[in-house]
Symmetry: D2
Subunit: 356 residues, 4 copies
């Protein structure tokens, strides 16, 4: 009998999960304090900024915005003018899922699509060669001048850049006078996978600006934009304000981060999600009819299922996304995904595949 419950967990997106207890604690704590100044002039916002500076072991500039579209688009807009361009992969979220957000916030900066590596281990990753090729292809004013390289860490295809890989791209970026932006919607999952210091994979490796995702990691709403090169954040507060990203009751955006950062809850959440993906992978990778091209590096399993199994699973109430036509499914775990949910889902996959 297929599993059925009212609080069914899903594998569609890590944004299906709610707020983790530690974040909620500080949301409530912030509310218990009565009247507080708005727009970030409150104690929690200052405190979280300090925590982030400690986490990254450097005097970085931190801004909080409402979501990832805004975080990435504002960060990129601060790195380039409208007639400049941003180099990214064809699967970059800024290219495929922001409805033209980066072009809107920058008033026209074009995204230049670099060929991505297609060997399984490097799926969805930029390479120094691809960057170099794009930068040197044109040098006339009829083509927008490349100014930024944008990496997604972890990538949209569940892969992770090693410290060396980020450094290599940063080296070519520096040589070509490009700034380096990191879309870190799942930065926590990448750091958990790498087991490195956050600083190692960011500013020490040459990253200028990081969009540090909070929502998928357990917050209700909100991302942090972290400028490691403070020269780049000049007047960024005005940019945030003008573009509708400044919360008047900022404490409700910032305070929950305290809970995430204390005792490395953000890492614990990420490690758990990553582990659940491993569990799911282990349970389905050898099933007949199932093909999982590469072992999960973070919190997602990209699996090819037999075509009839997919509607069958959905008919049972399971939610998950296709990532490619022809049976490619993205199965995503969250900070709160339970082993029981993984096992139930894997069991249903097994039965659906057997029946297919």
């Amino acid at each position: 009998m297929p599993s059925q419950n009212t609080t069914r967990q899903h594998f569609a997106s890590d944004n299906y999960a709610g707020v983790c207890p530690e974040a909620m604690h500080w949301f409530l704590e912030a509310n218990a304090s009565g009247h507080q100044p708005g727009y970030g002039d409150d104690e929690w916002t200052q405190r979280v900024c300090e925590q982030l500076r400690q986490l990254f072991q450097t005097d970085c500039d931190v801004y909080f915005v409402f979501n990832g579209t805004a975080a990435n688009s504002l960060a990129l807009a601060s790195l380039c003018q409208s007639y400049h361009s941003v180099i990214c992969t064809p699967v970059a979220h800024i290219e495929t899922d922001e409805c033209g957000g980066p072009e809107f916030f920058s008033n026209g900066s074009k995204l230049l699509i670099a060929e991505n590596e297609s060997t399984s281990a490097k799926l969805g990753k930029l390479t120094p060669d691809a960057v170099e090729q794009l930068v040197t292809r044109r040098a006339d004013i009829h083509y927008p001048k490349p100014k930024v390289v944008s990496l997604t860490q972890a990538t949209e295809l569940g892969t992770v850049y090693s410290v060396e890989e980020v450094r290599a791209i940063a080296a070519i970026a520096k040589r070509r006078k490009l700034k380096l932006h990191m879309d870190g919607a799942r930065f926590a999952n990448a750091v958990a996978a790498l087991g490195c210091e956050p600083a190692d994979i960011t500013w020490r490796a040459g990253v200028d600006v990081l969009c540090f995702g909070g929502t998928k990691n357990g917050l209700p709403v909100g991302e942090a934009v972290v400028f490691f090169d403070k020269a780049l954040s000049e007047d960024f507060a005005y940019r945030v304000k003008q573009s509708g990203q400044l919360a008047s009751k900022m404490r409700f955006i910032s305070a929950p981060w305290i809970g995430m950062l204390q005792d490395d809850v953000w890492l614990r959440n990420a490690r758990h999600a990553n582990a659940m993906a491993q569990r799911l992978y282990g349970a389905i990778k050898d099933l007949a009819g199932v093909r999982v091209p590469h072992a999960p590096q973070v919190n997602s399993v990209f699996a090819f299922l037999p075509q009839p199994a997919i509607p069958a699973l959905r008919a049972q109430g399971w939610k998950f996304y296709d990532f490619i036509a022809g049976g490619g499914c993205r199965l995503m775990c969250a900070w709160d995904t339970t082993p029981e949910a993984v096992d139930a889902f894997a069991g249903d996959i097994r039965r659906a595949c057997a029946a297919a």
Copy 2:
């Protein structure tokens, strides 16, 4: 001895207040439900939209965005192209406090400043004559074509448009083919003051789009954009997404509205804030050296205090804004302002004025 406590309430802005219990209840409720679809495909978002349609007694289109800058700017951008213009007063929030947000979101629409009424009862309000004058002043392509009238209800100076006043402006707007936008950051306070149906002061009076403020009324974050003319909201969801205003975990933006709308909590909150302003007004209006040009209509008292009293009060820890040079102070009450806080503040004002 001046009042002193750790959870001091202030009179600076209604956004100093936290989240009201009813909103918090539904925030927690939404979180208790485990995995839920993102981007508004959840039960609470659908439910709140329905509640708002019932509240306004019409089949309106509702969108949730993060703050007032975005709500107003996106609504205006949907009503005009970059070469069009928006008529408002010189004290309109969109003119004075959005850091160019409306111009940014619309890619250049100019705000045309209409002369506002200066008699005390009409402070900060547009009049049909002022609109007519602006619309007919120029008709050449060297000047951006007026396309929208924007009212703030209640105004930034604490006045309220009567139903008749909105209707009169809507009539001239219609005659001149202008759309009518209402900035309702304090819409609740205005409705509470008028004692009318929300529909009466909006679509029945000729308003095309309302930005219904939730944050100042007791939410942690979020405003609703309500299109009464559904032809105007075509593809508005795309606009919201592109501009970084679509919450992935939308339930945390929408669910708290359920608590606000049930049992008219939004009105109760607003009535309370308005009553606290009346209480403060009653306590200070006759003090020697104090001048309050008009009785409060909503939740603010605009008072002229003796110059030395102002730094004295601030030295005691009270926070409030100047609204005009030379002693003009804006004293703002919130949904949670207590009578005790009002009395303590009024007492300190009395003593500071006596000493001045």
Copy 3:
């Protein structure tokens, strides 16, 4: 001995040519008339608009702008909002050579790249299938909604859409509620090649807006934006003004068009340029080491020359563009290209290839 002269003609671009005598006549004529109203309120502008309406046999709306970047970008911006998208080929000028102009004028509309036909006859052309595939690929708000199909007639690779091909694309566009834009930088050359009425390949085939190129056809500066669907040109004059495309002394932009349109000079110029490309093609197509994949349809020859021949020709002073790495050269003829220049160039190519 290689040909050498001081007024050497080149094959780099049709914009290397100057002003044709008929256009110059009217430029001078307009100047001889003393004081004239600005911004298009002059007799020539009105007259040219009427001529264009007669040429296209329909009551179209005509606007003059300074160049092709502006013509295409403004036309596209009038057809879509920032969160919409435009379908074009990877070789479309709006994609490859406008430095992000369309994205700038529209404040973010994304260009969606359709796979183009690669069989030689259809090089650089969109097909109905490619449009259909792009339109149906995504239907969620995270992806900008397709709103326009943009064709280039003649294409950047020197091919021409037949009337039937335009109709087929217009049919799918209509079915999918897309508008149809035609970049006609070399519209004249296409019409000359097709031998059809201008109306047949534009509005009668389903085109909504045409950017009719004047500069490459013999004008000093200026393009016409022709709206066949007048509902789409509402307030376009304001758009032109705001974006810096309204000439104060408009007569100098418009009057030269009179000379182009009288006695079909525009077509004669285009036929001549096309004939020169045929002459060049005939002279080089069978040379050893030369490969010309397809016979010219308009005024360009796309030829692969032996690698050493290319710098040799340039060393002799000839100017022409590479269109693809590895020896692909674009050889472009203009309204004033002489048979003697073609023969001299072909002779030098012959000698350079023989020496290669």
Copy 4:
């Protein structure tokens, strides 16, 4: 009998005049040279840039664009980001007659209106005090940060800033870290009036960027943007290209400037226009019913005529603009305005006033 002829001159705008012979000579010369590289890689463009550097006695960066809207808007956009603001007078052309162009090109930079001097000699001019007042009024992120001061030289009301006045404004600009932009649509007339070196009133006085008007001075089309601070023009060529302001056949925009700059034709044209305004002023200032508040400083007379005289003059075919309701007329002379036309116009004014 009123004067009547077919080539009637007017006093509406200096853009009613055509092309001066010296500019036309070089337009024709440029055309006689056959094939020439586009986009400014031609000999005339290089030559004019050099001429301008000599004229200004400094190594400035020069760009040619099509009109004044673009020149000013692009220059301003290069000096500020969307969340910055530009200080100007309420009568500045960028505020009153560009249909939101500056806001469009900058994606939202707000124009802050400084109170202008109202004593007749300073009509339409900014003062250091007004700039200081605006800069210090607000310093919070809810208001766009002032970044540029924009002067019009000569002003829209026909007044001229002295070298000292520009210096005084530049001093406050420098102190407040503002850049200084000069809208020089009638720069020639101002220099002619001042009798100073162009360098004295621009970079030596602290101007960072000058928009040097060519059209009103005798060109068919085109303005020069002159960056005295070359750090500010980084990548400006890309900005020009993206925004549709790069002429493909650039020689027709640049070559006519050679004629203007040789033998100081630009100054001679301006001096003549200024002298014609003096002649007109002399002929009408003492007429009964006529009031001319201040003697012309450049090529315009701002005169109050008896109300009935105005339609009477227009009925006779004269064209001129109102500059203020209630009889205020702007009477503008051009480089080609003849003494006979001035006398004929003055005579008709005299008769119309006598009859009024």
